[in-house]
């Protein structure tokens, strides 16, 4: 069973298909991927109607026959409104986690509102997927810093450091029990190093599919064919860890 831990309902898909994932799911079928964690895209932009964006992600999930696991997003800048929206996403929409993209959203991980949002996620035991690998707000070390500051909250490095910060990601993944990583961005040698040096229960595979219309799954899925690891580890990384962490 393969579960993709990092996908988006991209703006291009939303504009074309509203909340109907039929065509989107065909790409998953092509690669024998059973389920996917799905995050928004439009909702990460400042001028969007975030409430509506979260509703669309939920609708996409409903239309997927249980294959797409919805993740909420909120903007820390919107203060109490973001708190209420996050509570709504967990209580009413049944979403399985929070996505924050400080680079796109323009928020520092040191923003005071982070304290409140991290607390809510801890209260509901919901993981937070962060974009990481990009300065000045989304370095892997900055997300790792949140993991150190909020030990009761579960954090996920959405890219495990991309091409430049994967060594930093390894260090924080090994330092913080509450920090997980998605293999989606480092090159082959970087991915092999992560797999060789980080707890196999803390690593997931993801494709970033859906941000645009291109099929990003083929490359990122088959890259793992060149990784040296046993079947037990491979099964965990390709699906079991994601299933456990996001309670699928």
């Amino acid at each position: 069973m393969i579960i993709d831990a990092h996908t988006h309902w991209g703006i291009a898909w939303e504009d074309k298909y509203s909340s109907d994932p039929t065509e989107w799911l065909k790409i998953l079928d092509k690669h024998n991927i059973e389920k996917a964690i799905i995050m928004g895209h439009r909702g990460l932009t400042r001028n969007s109607n975030i409430r509506r964006s979260n509703d669309i992600i939920k609708e996409v999930s409903v239309h997927s026959n249980g294959r797409l696991i919805p993740i909420a997003t909120v903007h820390p800048d919107f203060g109490d409104e973001s708190v209420k929206e996050l509570e709504r996403c967990f209580n009413e929409l049944g979403m399985h986690g929070l996505k924050l993209h400080p680079w796109m959203q323009g928020n520092s991980t040191s923003d005071p509102m982070m304290n409140e949002l991290m607390g809510i996620c801890a209260k509901y035991d919901m993981p937070i997927i962060f974009h990481d690998g990009t300065p000045p707000y989304s370095l892997s070390s900055q997300v790792g810093g949140l993991a150190l500051r909020f030990p009761d909250t579960t954090f996920v490095l959405g890219h495990s450091g991309l091409l430049e910060c994967w060594r930093s990601a390894i260090s924080f993944l090994n330092r913080c029990d509450n920090l997980y990583g998605i293999l989606c961005g480092p090159h082959l040698a970087g991915i092999q190093s992560i797999i060789d040096s980080v707890d196999e229960n803390k690593i997931m595979w993801g494709s970033d599919f859906g941000f645009g219309m291109a099929d990003t799954i083929s490359y990122r899925l088959h890259l793992l064919d060149y990784i040296d690891m046993n079947d037990v580890k491979r099964n965990k990384i390709m699906g079991l860890n994601t299933k456990r962490l996001f309670r699928i």
Partner: protein
């Protein structure tokens, strides 16, 4: 002609890659040649020994391996001397890695080195992508300063500068785009934007698997539309046009 524009040889922190293994991989991938360059420590500090190692590796397979050299511009006059020594024995490309070597590509620090490369008609491969020292527009600034030098934008700004590429390449014609690490689905869009006559294939092996990279890029970029990207574009800007001995 098929040429892989960027392969490093030797022992790095995560990989070990010999000339013999590279030849095996080129054969598997159906690729005729590769440009080879020093890696890691030999890019940062031990340039001369790295350049010698690469030159000697290319000598073993002169019809398949094309040597590049690297110089850290902080070496100043000593670096210029090393570039001249390398060029006069046939190296075909200068590789600069601003992040690893600690400089900005549009800093005047690098001017003398690039001016020397120009006298030997060497293309200059510049690693891009790292945020502070690898921005595509920094390279554009440098390329405008040296309009008669051909620059290769290594990794096409991957990961985060993908949205700058078409504009950064649009204001000057002496920048070519190399796609290793950029991933085929993004590189294809870049090449469609700037033109196939400026696209260059590279694998960044052994950090990537050369055979896999060529397979994936060839699947995404059809020969009908992108054939020159596999080597003809690169050959056209190398002083030996793909040969060197």
């Amino acid at each position: 002609m098929t040429i892989d524009c960027y392969v490093t040889l030797g022992e790095e922190r995560e990989t070990v890659y010999s000339a013999e293994t590279l030849i095996r991989d080129l054969d598997k991938a159906g690729v005729e040649k590769a440009v080879i360059a020093p890696a890691d420590r030999e890019i940062a500090v031990l340039n001369k020994s790295g350049n010698d190692f690469i030159y000697n590796a290319a000598l073993k397979f002169p019809d398949r391996l094309i040597p590049a050299c690297t110089i850290n511009p902080w070496y100043g006059v000593e670096g210029i001397t090393e570039l001249k020594r390398s060029a006069e024995r046939g190296i075909q490309m200068l590789v600069l890695n601003p992040t690893v070597q600690g400089f900005l590509i549009n800093d005047e620090l690098v001017n003398d080195l690039i001016a020397t490369a120009e006298t030997y008609k060497l293309p200059v491969y510049v690693h891009t992508g790292p945020h502070l020292y690898g921005a595509p527009w920094q390279l554009t600034d440098c390329a405008l300063r040296f309009p008669d030098v051909n620059f290769i934008m290594g990794h096409a700004g991957a990961t985060d500068f993908w949205n700058d590429i078409s504009h950064a390449c649009s204001v000057t014609n002496n920048i070519y785009l190399e796609g290793s690490l950029a991933r085929p689905f993004i590189f294809k869009a870049h090449i469609k934007g700037i033109g196939v006559e400026r696209g260059i294939m590279g694998s960044a092996a052994p950090r990537n698997n050369l055979v896999f990279e060529w397979e994936q890029y060839r699947t995404e970029l059809s020969d009908d539309e992108f054939l020159p990207v596999w080597g003809d574009v690169l050959a056209s800007i190398l002083p030996g046009k793909g040969g060197w001995k």
